[in-house]
């Protein structure tokens, strides 16, 4: 199968999940944002818009690429850093 759904594709990637999130999303700021660039640009689909206007964010399967904070036009919405040493994504072939 050359075409596969994202979830299956994500399973080919190794993540070592830290118990502390390396990205924190400010729900109050996101609720006021109408652009929501993060929802579209994230290559791992980690930003999910909620019915109540908020954004659900999971840091666990993050590629640490930085696209979300570069795309975000809301001051203070995304607090972004790399995970602690030894945690996060590990590519084996990329």
């Amino acid at each position: 199968m050359v075409s596969i759904p994202l979830e299956e594709r994500m399973r080919t990637v190794r993540f070592k999940v830290d118990d502390q999130p390396h990205i924190v999303v400010n729900a109050a700021v996101c609720a006021k944002c109408s652009v929501r660039a993060c929802v579209y640009v994230c290559p791992a689909n980690l930003f999910v818009p909620l019915d109540d206007g908020g954004i659900l964010f999971n840091y666990e399967e993050c590629f640490e690429c930085g696209t979300c904070y570069i795309a975000c036009n809301q001051e203070g919405a995304i607090q972004w850093s790399y995970p602690r040493g030894g945690y996060g994504v590990t590519f084996r072939e990329a």
Binding site: R14, K16, R84, R92
Partner: protein, 286 residues
């Protein structure tokens, strides 16, 4: 207090990939870690030993397994040793690992306590700790969920089936096999990490341990053939045509699986409570 920890290097389950056609494991894509039960054992050892105690880590494995021992040094293990056998011997039985560990422990200053992970995340048979205790002729408690030191004794809690727990007291020296979720390993300090990276990991081979290949001749399972798993044919469920339509629809959407029937109690609360107690007593729960 002197504590020894046994660590095993295992493939990270997230990197174990099975070829869909041949059912072969793709070893080139595997990354190796110390399993979560082993790292819990290491963390507990560091906590129990305290700042003045000694924690040594042992690992039976090939040169690549130095990585888990370096990790142990980084978080504060005072001493590490890797144990290994010549290439013509392939280690298969947990008894072989346990014998090497026992020999390794006896070569150095005997610790007061040995901590192991209850189960490795690859084979997971959980036998090595018990066999190790047997070779050392020490007491052992497996599936440990709690540890408290009390002088030369340890109070431990052990997991039994169906959520039951057992409390035991063990005299030291002893072997304890701890469960994975007991403790999360600390993050190494920078000086710790650098010290570990610079350290050379000492290795003991069979002859250093006073053993011979023949000592490791335990009966092992041998692989005769490997058959890829075949998808199980699923019986197609056909609803019972004698039943009315709504029941057949229910049968279809539940795929014919019937739930265990429950019993709904009614009446005044005191009466219902009595019925519950009676139910439990009948089945020997209380």
């Amino acid at each position: 207090m002197r504590i020894a920890v046994c660590l095993k290097q295992v493939p990270d389950p997230a990197t174990v990939e099975v070829d869909p056609l041949t059912a072969a494991l793709d070893t080139r894509r595997m990354l190796y870690i110390a399993g979560p039960a082993d790292t819990a054992a290491l963390e507990l050892a560091l906590r129990l030993a305290g700042p003045t105690g000694q924690v040594s880590a042992l690992c039976v494995g090939p040169p690549a397994a130095d990585a888990v021992l370096r990790m142990a040094l980084a978080v504060g293990a005072t001493e590490v040793r890797r144990l290994w056998v010549p290439p013509f011997l392939s280690l298969q039985a947990p008894a072989q690992t346990a014998l090497l560990l026992a020999a390794g422990l006896q070569r150095a200053t005997i610790p007061d306590l040995v901590l192991c992970g209850a189960r490795s995340s690859d084979q997971g048979s959980g036998q090595a700790p018990a066999l190790l205790a047997e070779f050392l002729d020490w007491p052992v408690v497996c599936d440990v969920t709690q540890i408290a030191m009390e002088g030369d004794r340890v109070r431990v809690q052990r997991r039994l089936d169906r959520g039951a727990r057992e409390e035991l007291e063990v005299r030291l020296p002893a072997v304890l096999a701890v469960e994975a979720n007991l403790a999360r390993l600390r993050h190494a300090s920078l000086p710790g990490l650098m010290r570990a990276e610079r350290a050379s990991v000492p290795v003991s081979h069979l002859e250093d341990l006073g053993l011979e290949p023949a000592d490791l001749a335990f009966p092992t399972a041998s692989v005769r053939a490997v058959t890829p798993p075949r998808p199980r044919t699923r019986p197609i469920f056909t609803p019972d045509s004698t039943r009315p339509a709504h029941e057949r629809i229910t049968q279809i959407i539940t795929a014919g699986v019937t739930r265990k029937s429950g019993k709904v109690l009614e009446g005044p609360p005191a009466q219902m409570a009595d019925a519950v107690v009676e139910f439990l007593r009948e089945r020997g729960f209380v």
